[in-house]
């Protein structure tokens, strides 16, 4: 199955030169789960530090891997959107700090905004006033942490679209998974529809910009989306979506009982774990509930006839990618425990953050996927 040679060789111009990785091929495409684990591990690592240099390094690592390895699908462009979102988070956080003030005592005054006097009941809230370098630095560090997390999720999105991930769902959840995938693919076409209709407003001599324009096309866009969903539902029905195998009644009943009992167990167990009184029974009930639910899912899978076409395999590369992410996270946990000062640079007194050497080296381990995963196929030509 591996490299059957049936498909044409693709150019590898998109990759950085000299990287010894196999050319992209469906059979050895990386399991999407590996990408998500890697990216989420980087995100977890980001929560361990507020050092802006380390965070910037984490972002750089994820960005490099994304640029080197993202496939040429519409989904992969979502990385840019996530980066913009992260920047917006950063800006909003800084604005709030400037306007609402910061609990950080600071001496380096940057500017004093006119302060709005607030009534007594609003004590503790401040509008305007002193803006200090310390306060801004603290806000920046904090916001960078969140921004890095967002960018890591964006990286996962770009490298492996959620729809690919959903294919790995167990059989019983498959149909729900397809519904989610369809909803996900409709979002972009909804946006495209909206754009087209807004453009069409121009043809009617109405301004094509502004909020009113958006509102007026809202209804037609939704109508169109609804019609398309109905057409898609018809197509899916005609293609055998939802065909079920006949299973013995006993199995069906057992499945229902297991699932129901499992869900109840999970609820009760969670309640027990969270309340002080239920400390004793909480954990076992939760575990039992989970087990029952999983068994129900497994049994439920027998009703589904479906087979999988060329499922993604979890191979050595997937292990490597996951391990590289996990290593970054683990090492940063360790560093945070060993050397908290370096990973959480103080802002009072205000000092320039330094790059701690070995945590930085640890972050660089996250670059591994750019070298061990197959390069994406270069698109020959994209028709309009």
């Amino acid at each position: 199955m591996r490299r059957s040679g049936a498909r044409p060789a693709s150019s590898r111009a998109a990759r950085p030169a000299g990287v010894p990785a196999p050319r992209h091929h469906r059979a050895d495409a990386l399991h999407p789960g590996a990408w998500w684990l890697w990216a989420l591990a980087l995100g977890v690592a980001a929560t361990r530090t507020t050092n802006p240099l380390l965070l910037a390094l984490l972002v750089a690592v994820s960005a490099y891997v994304v640029l080197a390895r993202r496939p040429h699908t519409p989904w992969s462009r979502s990385y840019g959107a996530f980066v913009k979102l992260a920047l917006a988070v950063l800006v909003i956080r800084l604005l709030f700090t400037a306007v609402l003030g910061s609990p950080i005592p600071g001496t380096h005054l940057i500017v004093t905004l006119p302060e709005v006097p607030l009534p007594d009941w609003a004590q503790g809230i401040r509008l305007g006033g002193r803006v200090t370098a310390e306060g801004l630095a603290f806000a920046l560090y904090d916001a960078m942490k969140l921004a890095t997390l967002l960018i890591c999720v964006g990286a996962a999105n770009a490298l492996a679209s959620p729809s690919r991930l959903l294919k790995a769902l167990p059989g019983a959840l498959y149909e729900a998974g397809v519904a989610v995938v369809v909803a996900l693919t409709f979002a972009p076409s909804l946006i495209a529809d909206g754009r087209r209709l807004r453009a069409a407003r121009r043809l009617r001599g109405r301004p094509d910009k502004g909020v009113r324009g958006l509102l007026q096309v809202g209804l037609p866009v939704l109508e169109g989306a609804l019609e398309r969903s109905v057409a898609l539902a018809a197509a899916m029905d005609a293609r055998g979506y939802g065909r079920t195998a006949s299973v013995p009644a006993a199995v069906r009943r057992t499945t229902a009982a297991l699932t129901l009992a499992g869900l109840l167990g999970v609820c009760a167990g969670t309640y027990g774990v969270l309340t002080a009184a239920g400390g004793t029974y909480g954990v076992p009930v939760l575990a039992a509930g989970l087990a029952a639910a999983l068994a129900g899912l497994w049994l439920g899978g027998r009703r589904s006839l479906r087979t999988r076409y060329r499922p993604d395999r979890w191979g050595a590369r997937a292990w490597l990618v996951t391990a590289s992410g996990a290593a970054v996270a683990a090492l940063l946990f360790l560093a945070a425990a060993r050397d908290p000062a370096a990973l959480r640079p103080g802002v009072v007194p205000l000092v320039a953050p330094t790059l701690p050497l070995w945590p930085a080296a640890a972050v660089l381990i996250g670059l591994l996927p750019a070298f061990v995963t197959p390069a994406p196929e270069q698109l020959a030509k994209e028709p309009s």
Partner: protein, 719 residues
């Protein structure tokens, strides 16, 4: 394989059954074509095969439909999925996954086939449909033809015994349509698949059919027979059949090849006629003024044409003398439309042929509509449009929209004789060849027109190309980028008032982008675009609608309101037109649409006409239509042709992007071929269409090397 036993379908809330008494059988391994005008229930019949009617759509089905022995009453669509593959009208709404390979596998996954079987079938299907190079591509990035092939492939992989296709080639360019039809042909011949398909574009498919099922009218029982038999009685038929009926061939030819074999006598006969001064064949230029004059008179005996036409000739000199010009033209103008209404085709063909090759006409035909604008409508108004909807539309009110056209055409025809001497520059074979020279030649005339416009009160409000703009549209070395794609490169195009230009080329060649650039929806990366005197993307939408109007590919995009009346009222407000303008226009273009209908409930053709009326409310001198005949049957298409001809006669410049070669042959003065964002051919329809095998209309192929384009031309010549 498929058996309908006295099937009737009544949808919920409908009074009458949509289809009634459907009773036929499709034997195994045949390709059966379902034909009929719009709205006769073709899609319902197709849906009944896959079980979607009534399981999915609701409604009541009486009678019995069995597919491969399975009764659709007891089998839901999903339980028929292994024997019936269905591809709907819009392939995009068919796709569940996002890459080609997954899409091909989806149906098999649902059926639970073993992984190794799936793998083998996917590879086979990729080869069968020539999709191997695209296997990893996201479906959204494929062209229309590729998507259609993927859609067909995705239902082929489970190896269904029956394939049901609803308009598989309507949205495709001629080459892509051939591609899809070749695949179907192969399936039927090699794999013994039974295919049932509905299609409006009969000229593309009828020759492949083993049998044809005709639904003649809503609720009428279907007629089943061999293609030739059914075509002899069908209300919808392709041009080749039309020609065959005209020439009295029996059995009717269905392919170009058959028709050509029979056509030799016809060609000879027409060839003889060509030799007479009456009808100058395209190849030979009209010699003298008298020659052309005679031509008209000899042409017209078929109808009541001659009298108005002869006076039309003197109209020409008036052209050079601006002020008095319209006056003498006036009586002729008024007379011509009404009297010549019946034989409207004849003059058209004349001009077409002439402008095809005759050097002068290409240019002379351009200013002609201008004259018409100034002279024609003025007198036309009192007589034809008591409603007073305004000049450009008055002529439309004539019973035959193309009536006024003939008047104009005649005018243009006569023009070369008189004007030729003064314009030797017009010796260029194609209109594009000499934009500069042509422009130079036109300039004085334009200013003249402007003065005329100023004088004619009614014309002031009509198709106003904008002062100082000799062209209705002018595109100079235009380049447009869309994302990473260079959609257009160095495109030059000029369209004069009264001229109809067809943009053709394969899907994704840049036709729609060019139209978008002309209405300012996309900004040029380089070069310039002008619509009249405006730069579209820098003009406020309110002002732009008065200069250029676009009817988009999906006319529904233009319609927001709940009722036709509200839509029309909104259009009047948008265009600053007098209340009722749009409604009056709509009544002219499409009588019988009531105010309270929801635009969604209109038929495809009606909706297109409504969108056209909305656009025309602002009276743009430049009218653009993107793929206007998608989903239209022949009758709706003929109406559209009539409307557009009348508009052109009034001086509207019209640009159509279309895959429909027959439409281009009927309407366009010029055809512009685009490929990969570049203009690869630009010239008179007869020249460009005949030169290209894929863009030649059927009649041109049959009559080659003679440059006849439409059955109407031939009919007129024979009359």
């Amino acid at each position: 394989m498929i058996r309908f036993e006295d099937v009737s379908v009544t949808y919920d809330g409908a009074v009458e059954p949509t289809v009634r008494g459907v009773d036929f059988e499709v034997p195994e391994g045949e390709l059966v074509l379902l034909v009929g005008p719009s709205g006769v229930g073709k899609s319902t019949v197709l849906g009944a095969v896959s079980g979607l009617v009534p399981h999915f759509t609701g409604g009541t089905l009486s009678g019995r439909v069995t597919v491969a022995g399975r009764d659709t009453r007891t089998h839901k669509p999903r339980e028929l999925a292994d024997v019936v593959g269905t591809v709907g009208q819009d392939p995009l709404s068919h796709f569940v996954t996002d890459t080609v390979e997954d899409e091909l596998a989806y149906g098999m996954e649902s059926l639970g086939l073993a992984p190794d079987v799936m793998r083998r079938r996917v590879e086979e299907t990729l080869d069968l449909l020539g999709l191997n190079g695209l296997r990893d591509r996201p479906i959204a990035t494929l062209s229309g033809g590729q998507q259609q092939r993927v859609a067909i492939g995705s239902v082929l992989t489970p190896h269904p015994e029956v394939l049901v296709l609803d308009e598989p080639t309507s949205a495709l360019d001629p080459a892509a349509a051939e591609e899809v039809l070749a695949v179907l042909q192969r399936l039927v011949h090699d794999l013994g698949t039974t295919v049932l398909m509905a299609e409006h574009r009969l000229e593309r498919v009828v020759q492949y059919a083993d049998q044809v099922v005709l639904l003649p009218s809503p609720g009428a029982a279907p007629v089943l027979g061999s293609p030739a038999e059914v075509m002899a009685v069908s209300p919808v038929y392709p041009p080749v059949v039309d020609l065959g009926r005209l020439a009295g061939w029996s059995p009717l030819p269905l392919t170009i090849r058959d028709a050509r074999r029979r056509a030799a006598p016809l060609r000879d006969r027409l060839g003889d006629r060509d030799a007479t001064p009456g009808r100058t064949p395209p190849g030979t230029g009209t010699g003298t003024g008298t020659g052309t004059g005679t031509q008209h008179t000899t042409d017209s005996p078929a109808a009541s044409g001659p009298p108005p036409r002869t006076p039309a000739a003197p109209e020409r000199p008036s052209r050079t003398a601006p002020a008095p010009g319209p006056q003498p033209a006036t009586p002729a103008g008024t007379g011509a439309p009404h009297t010549t209404a019946a034989p409207n085709v004849s003059p058209l063909s004349d001009t077409r042929n002439d402008s095809g090759t005759q050097p002068g006409t290409a240019h002379s035909s351009r200013p002609e509509p201008g004259t018409h604008v100034t002279s024609g409508p003025e007198p036309g108004k009192p007589s034809a449009a008591p409603a007073g909807t305004g000049a450009p539309h008055t002529t439309t009110a004539a019973p035959h929209p193309s009536g006024p056209l003939s008047g104009t055409r005649i005018g243009s025809q006569a023009l070369p004789d008189t004007a030729h001497t003064s314009r030797p520059e017009s010796g260029k074979p194609s209109a594009v060849g000499a934009p500069a020279a042509a422009a130079a030649a036109r300039r004085p005339r334009a200013s003249l027109l402007r003065r005329l416009r100023g004088k004619a009160p009614s014309a002031g409000r009509t198709a106003d190309g904008g002062p100082g703009a000799p062209y209705a549209a002018e595109v100079r070395s235009l380049a447009v980028r869309r994302g990473r794609v260079q959609a257009l490169r160095r495109v030059d195009l000029t369209v004069s008032p009264g001229e109809t230009v067809a943009l053709m080329g394969r899907n994704g060649a840049g036709k729609s982008t060019l139209l978008s650039a002309l209405v300012g929806l996309v900004e040029p990366a380089a070069g310039s675009v002008r619509a009249g005197d405006a730069v579209p993307h820098r003009t406020a939408p309110r002002d732009l609608v008065r200069r250029v109007g676009l009817v988009p590919q999906e006319p529904r995009d233009l319609l927001y309101a709940d009722t036709v009346a509200a839509e029309c009222a909104a259009a009047d407000r948008d265009a600053d037109a007098a209340p009722g303008t749009c409604r009056a226009l709509l009544t002219e273009l499409l009588p019988g649409v009531t105010d309270d209908v929801h635009p969604r409930d209109l038929s495809e053709g009606q909706r297109l006409t409504l969108a056209l009326a909305v656009v025309l409310t602002a009276r743009p001198p430049l009218l653009l239509l993107d793929e206007p005949t998608r989903g239209l049957d022949y009758a709706a298409k003929a109406r559209l042709v009539g409307i557009l001809r009348a508009l052109a006669a009034e001086g509207h410049a019209i640009v159509l992007a279309t895959h429909d070669v027959e439409l281009a042959a009927e309407l366009a003065h010029r055809v512009v071929l685009l490929a990969e964002g570049e203009v690869i051919a630009d010239g008179p329809t007869a020249d460009v269409a005949v030169a290209s095998p894929s863009f030649a209309p059927q009649v041109a192929k049959i009559m080659a090397p003679r440059k006849w384009l439409t059955v109407a031309q031939v009919r007129e010549a024979l009359a």
